[in-house]
């Protein structure tokens, strides 16, 4: 019983939140890594792309809600995601047409593309705030919990509660489906293979008759879908605020780089490494150890490796160590 209590406390405060947060970061990092692998630049506008896609989804959600459409226990926003993806894709393709294509034709250095993407970031930033405002938007409806902390206690008779939010479960399930679909697409379909070929060697890909504009367009479409889904899942789980999405850029990039830029598998692993290190290393083990150790050994202090002030330091130290000893990331990506 004591052991179970400890396990439940650990699951409630570390495992479940970290898995959900990791899945959100992984989806974001997948988008960053795809752009890096195929278009060859670090897209700083990714956080705001997520914000824009989420905003479109929220507007569609409101419209659906006004029509009385609902998914019962699931959030209506899931139905609105296709609208969000469409809106986001339209914006991204327009940006590519107007901005990125010009620089691509000039064959500018990746660094210039990075700066260009920062410009795009500020524009997206402004557009999103202009349309929906800077405030928090709460658009989750349906059941909030799969199981709440109090219900769990009543159900199992344990002292510790375990809460699983619907959105956390949806996040993990959706992330699994999206990742599986993406890998199937990249490895099995003709377009996916041509994208990988283009990523591996642009010149050879062009020689074998791959249409570069098509590859670029498909990449942007996938990125739009990934960004919107990641943004909506995050927004459902926490709440939507443009500024927070802008701040998400940092952990997302850390995840993509730790995993290896350009490697989809790495992006997923990186997302979970960053999430678990942020939540796990600063966790105070007092409660869990109190359950697991005999009473005589139970700790008085908090048994916290590091104060939570350092949680960002932790993820960046991991980033530095990876870059120093494995510049290509955990899963052989491209060196930065």
């Amino acid at each position: 019983m004591e052991f179970l209590n400890g396990l439940v406390a650990l699951a409630n405060f570390v495992l479940i939140p970290a898995v959900a947060y990791g899945a959100q970061l992984a989806l974001g990092a997948l988008g960053v890594t795809l752009i890096y692998g195929i278009l060859r630049f670090s897209n700083f506008a990714h956080g705001d792309t997520m914000a824009f896609g989420t905003m479109c989804t929220i507007l569609a959600t409101w419209w659906l809600q006004s029509l009385g459409v609902s998914l019962g226990p699931l959030p209506t926003a899931l139905l609105a995601i296709p609208f969000g993806i469409a809106g986001c894709a339209a914006l991204i393709l327009l940006t590519d047409r107007v901005v990125y294509r010009f620089y691509r034709r000039q064959k500018v250095k990746p660094m210039i593309m990075v700066i260009v993407s920062m410009g795009v970031m500020f524009i997206y930033n402004g557009v999103t705030r202009f349309i929906i405002g800077t405030e928090d938007q709460n658009f989750a409806d349906g059941e909030r919990f799969l199981i709440g902390a109090r219900e769990f206690k009543a159900l199992t008779g344990l002292d510790e509660g375990l809460a699983i939010r619907t959105t956390q479960a949806i996040t993990v399930v959706t992330a699994l489906i999206v990742v599986a679909a993406l890998f199937w697409f990249l490895n099995r379909t003709r377009t996916g293979k041509s994208m990988r070929a283009y990523s591996d060697n642009e010149d050879l890909a062009l020689l074998s008759g791959i249409n570069p504009e098509r590859v670029v367009m498909v990449t942007w479409l996938i990125v739009a879908a990934l960004a919107t889904i990641a943004g909506v899942l995050y927004g459902l789980d926490k709440s939507f605020k443009p500024f927070t999405y802008f701040q998400l850029l940092l952990p997302i990039f850390a995840a993509a780089i730790v995993g290896g830029l350009g490697s989809p598998l790495g992006a997923i692993a990186g997302g979970f490494v960053i999430a678990f290190s942020e939540v796990g290393i600063t966790y105070a083990w007092k409660k869990v150890l109190g359950y697991w150790l005999p009473d005589t050994l139970a700790p008085d202090g908090l048994v916290q490796l590091m104060s939570t002030d350092y949680k960002f330091a932790v993820s960046f130290v991991i980033l530095l160590i990876v870059l120093l000893f494995r510049p290509t990331g955990l899963f052989k990506g491209k060196s930065v």
Partner: protein, 398 residues
């Protein structure tokens, strides 16, 4: 007839010159607020309110034999100490202001005080800087504020817990001057009352995820979680995360957490939680609403009352000192703000000036029941509220 005409023209001319002379004798008051930056949405109303008080003084015609008070605005930016210092420096050296109404945010206020006000001997009256650090800052008696220090709020919060008989809490605060100052004040008062703080953990605003902070706080335990943050960013994130994981279900909220949006988002989940927020009520507050409405100014906005009072106190102190100088403000401000004397409400500045002119005493009440304590800061009254059925419910004022 011609003589008569000439005579009247001559009289008119002399009168005109006399009038012009009175006009040229003016005293400038600096109004330094963050017109750009994080509180740019609040500062226009604050400046309008301060200027409303100065206008009232000028219009009364009772002020120091026709001296006119002229406001000069400058931008404190709220966050950039260097920019605020430069702006204040310009006010003093170029515009020649004799007193400053401002600054607004605690950080820039401290910078202006030590870099500009102290070396030049210019008194400052801040309407909104609440950091406890400013109480003990070296000021040579030049610094006043019409908003209460957060040290007082820390005392109020600890008092509420003592009344409720709660002795073990966990604390989280937003990681800046405001959050740190308020949490230090609260913890020292709470521990002096015999309470125990299991863990005091800062949180950053606008971050993606607060699971780590909540995990640590839940492990530390406590009867409730004290949240000293902002309702529209980190503070709300912490509460949501705590509610979701079942770590805490009761919260005590600092003044930054008081907002209707918070209740709208979290609904009845917050029932049973409580907190405090600076609040003024009474005839002065109502009178200020009348006066500001009549002038077409939004007097309901945050810190507008404090701004009006700050500017009014500067003018009254000059009148009591008999000259529009920095020394007069510095030496007489406490005397006009506190008892004894006739109580003065907003809109009665002309009457107050007349009393001072006749050698009487005044006790400026103003829009916020001004009572300056210690080194010249508002005692402040706080509203202790609980949340019942998803609405704020006043318990009492302290």
């Amino acid at each position: 007839m011609r003589k008569l005409l000439l005579a009247s023209v001559a009289t008119a001319l002399t009168a005109g010159t006399g009038f012009a002379e009175a006009q040229t004798s003016e005293a400038k008051i600096g109004v330094i607020l963050g017109f750009t930056g994080p509180i740019e949405s609040l500062t226009p109303m604050m400046a309008d309110s301060a200027e409303l008080a100065l206008k009232e003084v000028n219009d009364s015609g009772n002020f120091l034999d026709g001296v006119t008070l002229t406001p000069v605005r400058a931008d404190s930016t709220c966050v950039d100490s260097a920019a605020a210092t430069a702006a204040a420096e310009r006010l003093v050296s170029t515009d020649g202001v004799v007193a400053i109404m401002g600054a607004d945010c605690s950080g820039v206020t401290g910078a202006v005080l030590s870099n500009v006000a102290l070396p030049n001997g210019i008194p400052m009256v801040s309407p909104s800087a609440t950091s406890p650090g400013l109480t003990t800052a070296e000021d040579n008696g030049l610094f006043f504020r019409t908003s209460p220090s957060d040290a007082r709020q820390g005392e109020v919060l600890a008092g509420i817990l003592a009344d409720k008989g709660i002795s073990t809490v966990a604390v989280t605060y937003t990681n800046n001057d405001y959050g740190k100052g308020l949490s230090d004040a609260f913890i020292s008062n709470f521990e002096a009352n015999g309470g125990t703080v299991t863990l005091s953990a800062p949180h950053e605003d606008n971050k993606a995820d607060y699971s780590a902070e909540i995990g640590a706080l839940a492990s530390a335990g406590g009867d409730l979680l004290v949240v000293l943050g902002y309702s529209d960013s980190g503070g709300k994130g912490m509460i949501r995360s705590a509610l979701d994981t079942g770590a805490f279900d009761t919260f005590m909220l600092g003044d930054g957490m008081y907002s209707d949006a918070l209740l709208a988002d979290l609904g009845t989940d917050l029932d049973g939680s409580f907190g405090s927020v600076p609040w003024s009520e009474g005839p002065g507050t109502e009178k200020f609403k009348e006066v500001s409405d009549a002038a077409g100014i939004n007097g309901e906005s945050t810190y507008t009352r404090e701004s009006y009072d700050a500017a009014a106190l500067i003018a009254l102190a000059m009148m009591a000192g008999g000259e529009a100088t920095s020394e007069a403000v510095k030496d007489n401000l406490l005397a006009v703000a506190n008892a004894p004397g006739e109580q003065i409400l907003p809109g009665e500045l002309g009457k107050a000036l007349q009393i001072l002119k006749d050698g009487g005493d005044i006790d400026y009440v103003g829009a916020t029941n001004v009572e300056l304590i210690g080194p010249g800061e508002a005692a402040g009254s706080y509203r202790f509220y609980t949340i019942t059925d998803g609405a704020f419910e006043t318990v009492d004022f302290r």
